[in-house]
């Protein structure tokens, strides 16, 4: 029996390929293999003989099988190793192309601003871009002859001859959305109003269309001090660094008192750094909503008070991301879109960072 074992194990070890190995298997364990035949003879043995020969033969069979399997694996590995030696690719070739699009900075910044104000309970309100002059001006305490109307460089829509209605305007600010929102839902209210606005001005720093975000908070006892806190919280979250603000008295027909708001900044290599240094940069107009505006929107100014503010989204994007030229925002130059755009998956969240 030991001879048999030695004989086959040697043959297995020496098998050069899978075919030789199969020959060994058939010779040993095939239907007419030497070991198979011996096992068949077990039936003819006496119970005593079988007692010793049975287990021995089974053990031999297992051992041969294991050896066969091991050798088979060894041969396969060797063959694989041989094949792999021939398999080589130039891995410096480029990967398969996958298009990568971009989100425009205006969209990105709008979402950033929205995320921050949402946390303070401000909803997002939208409205028509072609507006009646009542919503754009009169309701905001800017009567027809007011110099502020002329200064706004308003676009008017065409009126057919004989149509004597006052022309509509392209909204010069998103404030009409504030009026419409108050009309619809009354007070208390907290909204921001992002969107396109239009003024007939085109030069280095002005485009006839730009994007604005206004905010409105009306309640029983909201004050200008609350406004300052809200804005400082906003700027700090938006720029990712503590930002101080400075309020300066100003005048807008729709707020009283009114303030222009500066953020703390410094200038480094021609770029603005917000939240450091001792310079101030004007970024925003604001104030306490004028009682006439509340009345126009159907909110009782004796019961309710609150603030409103407005700032340029494009301007915020320029400040935060160091984008130099406003006009390029609307030019759709592919190089600009790719350079200043954002990944589709970079959704601004408060928990992940704005």
């Amino acid at each position: 029996m030991d001879d048999l074992k030695h004989q086959y194990l040697t043959q297995i070890a020496n098998a050069a390929d899978e075919a030789a190995l199969e020959d060994v298997r058939i010779a040993a364990l095939g239907k007419k293999g030497e070991i198979s035949l011996k096992m068949r003879e077990l039936g003819k043995m006496s119970p005593e003989e079988r007692q010793t020969a049975g287990p021995a033969l089974n053990a031999l069979k297992d051992e041969i099988n294991s050896a066969l399997a091991a050798r088979k694996m060894g041969l396969a590995d060797a063959a694989l190793d041989e094949r792999l030696k021939s398999e080589w690719m130039d891995v410096t070739l480029p990967g398969r192309g996958r298009p990568a699009g971009t989100i425009h900075p205006i969209s990105q910044v709008t979402e950033e601003v929205t995320a921050i104000f949402a946390d303070m309970g401000f909803a997002v309100a939208e409205g028509p871009q072609i507006e009646s002059d009542w919503y754009n001006f009169d309701a905001l305490n800017i009567p027809g002859h007011h110099p502020a109307r002329a200064e706004m460089d308003t676009f008017y829509t065409h009126r057919a001859p004989g149509d004597n209605r006052p022309p509509h305007v392209l909204r010069t600010h998103t404030s009409p959305v504030q009026i419409r929102s108050m009309e619809a839902q009354g007070a208390p209210i907290r909204i921001i109003c992002p969107g396109r606005v239009y003024r007939a001005d085109y030069d280095q720093t002005h485009t006839p269309m730009f994007n604005q975000i206004e905010g409105l908070a009306i309640d029983k006892d909201i004050s200008m001090a609350n406004l300052k806190w809200v804005l400082e919280e906003f700027f700090t979250a938006f720029f990712g660094t503590t930002v101080k603000t400075r309020f300066r008295a100003s005048h807008f027909p729709f707020t009283e008192p009114s303030a222009e708001v500066d953020v703390q900044c410094s200038w480094v290599d021609g770029q603005v750094r917000v939240g450091e240094g001792d310079g101030w940069l004007e970024v925003l107009g604001s104030g306490m909503v004028h009682p006439k505006v509340l009345s126009a929107a159907g909110v009782d100014p004796d019961q309710w008070q609150g603030f409103a503010f407005g700032m340029g989204i494009d301007r915020m994007a320029m400040l935060k991301y160091g984008i130099p030229d406003l006009r390029a925002f609307f030019d759709s130059d592919l190089r600009w879109l790719r350079h200043y755009g954002f990944s589709a998956l970079k959704v601004p969240t408060l928990h992940g960072g704005i």
Partner: protein
Amino acid sequence: MKFTLSWLKDHLDTTASVDEITEALTDLGLEVEGVENPGAKLADFTIGKVISAEKHPDADKLRVCQVMTDEGQLQIICGAPNARQGIMVVVAKPGTYVPGIDTTIGVGKIRGIESFGMMCSEREMELSEEHDGIIELASGEVGDRFTDWLAVNDPAKVDPVIEIAITPNRADALGVRGIARDLAARGLGTLKARDVVPVPASFKADLTVSIDADTADGCPVFCGRLIRGVKNGPSPEWLQDILRAIGLRPISFLVDVTNFFTYDRNRPLHVFDVDKMKGNLRVHRARGGEEIVALDDKTYVLQPGMMAISDDEGPESIAGIMGGAATGCTDETVNVFVESAYWDPIQIAMTGRALKINSDARYRFERGIDPAFTPEGLEHAVRMIVDHAGGEASEVIMAGTVPDVSRAFRLDTDRVQSLVGMTIAPDDQRQTLTALGFVLDGDMAQVPSWRPDVQGPADLVEEVARVASLTKLVGKPMPRMTAGVPTAILTGSQVRAGQARRTAAALGYNECVTYTFIDQAAAALFGGGDDATMLENPISADMSHMRPSLLPGLLRAAARNQARGFADLALFEVGHAFHGGEPGEQHLAISGLLIGRTGPKDVHGESRAVDLFDAKADAEAVLAAVGAPAKVQILRGAEGWWHPGRHGRICLGPKKVLGVFGELHPRVLREMEIKGTAVAFTIWPDEVPVAKSKSATRSALASNDLQAVERDFAFVVDERVEALTLINAAAGADKALIADVRVFDEFVGGSLGEGKKSLALTVRLQPVEATLKEAEIEAVSAKIVEKVTKATGGALRG
């Protein structure tokens, strides 16, 4: 609005520095836009004395001077003819920048002799054009700063000029006195009395002024005085200096006086040359068509209703806006009529706008001057004219009456503090208003006549707040409206727009933001461009119409990028398009545009030209992202800017169109100057039905472990039979068993013959109860063949 520091100090007794003043002005709402300090560039120049001046041994025109300075005795070579012993001079020592020659002085040798500085002329310090010699001072001590000497002896030369922006409400701050009053209220000094002693009347004028009845609402009061025997000519130096300092050109004394009071007291005036007038003056409304040559030498045609001041000859002045050239003052003028009137702001604004005249007078009258000051302003002007130019003044000629603008509002000191969110003591509030000229009677604050902007209690709050200083405001937390985690704030439509945007970007598109207004031709190509969506005053012809679609803007952007050498483009925009010109006639859309190839040519050979199936897949992906149902109809028949045979509308029924995809019409592309073909899609997310269930719970997963079977079929059909017809027919063969039908091959023409094509389908059968037997599969297959051939008139491909 510009003024100089010394002009301000003429009204304000203050020791405050320029910095303190500018800081306060900005904080008060009078935003400082710039300060020009002519003394700043002369800060390093000092006074010296020439101890000796000897001829340069090697140059006839140069002198070697020994000059005593604050740094001791210096040797300075000088070429000025007046450089001589004993004179007091202005010295620029080494290191000093000399603006007039744009040079920083260094130590140098001139013809072999060292020189340690320079003695300067006025031109070299940009004080004047004087350059005949170096400055000789009549006074001064060695070592004193030259700017200090100037401040005492020639203050106009170092008078800082401050420019502030005036918000439309602050008409009163268009006069230096109004600015001084604000600063005094802030505590930066005290307002000086500037009363006038009227010139006594020497005669009764033979001139009359009348105001037509229909003009009284536009000109409630008109005052004037005749002055006989004035001697016009250049203004005194001080007047010329301050006018020049604020950018006005001195013309002649009589004209300069009117400009002075315009800026000093926000009191525009006009002076007529009486000898050029015919008859009396009449304030009236134009009939229309009257012509007048104004002081700017331009001819204006008055429109009906505009206010004018006329004599017997016709209009001599466009009331409140600009005087007429014919009766303007010249150096020869000796007899004048000085006008001080009050004009209605709205009427002046409308006339000024219509005639396109931007004058200092219009600017002030349309914002509102102080009506009560009308007679007094006249007296100031007459006094100044008579004092400087002589002559004798008539009695006052007055038409109309000074309008009564008195009004009072209640000051609620608690409300002020509640609105501002700052503690401001009631006494301080009252004191602020008093300092600004309000008269307090109990809680009622009587508004001064020079503040037309104060029209209600809220305006009192603003006055108190700005004087108290908003810079001092301290932020105060604003509590949430409801405690706890904030709820979602975006509307369904807003969420969808955001999902669509990020999906498009993820698909490889670059987001654009293009102008909402486009040129008429482009708008017309996309169903717009009519008068309803036209702007009355576009900024340019290519921004004249509201866009009817996002596609023209994207195509223009694509053409610009093609011109820059970018051939492969994937652009998209999310925004509103306009189907009408009324508020609300706008709709949200998402458009994507593909041009060129899927990517640059690459080693894997995957780059290929984009086609409408790229646009279709992207449209479907964006629709899926906004929650559109998977099962839609694809119909033809979209608008004419799509290729007639290569587009599809994505519909839920024939009337519910969610989007369109396809090739753009070649003619449209040609008009838009696009090279090559372009495919695009537009989705209208608000058309997508909103899910009815608000529940987050998903339906249970129905999965089946039984072996699915796939069978392939190929059918020969007419070329224009749509694949969807085959798919729907096949799927209808056994709705329970057939899980999916896909087209996997299309073959057109060839051996099939003209007008025929073969479409190959894979049908996936998913048994639910028991594994399929061959006979069952055969039965379903036969049914599929039957259904498809019946629906298409085609045949199973043999």
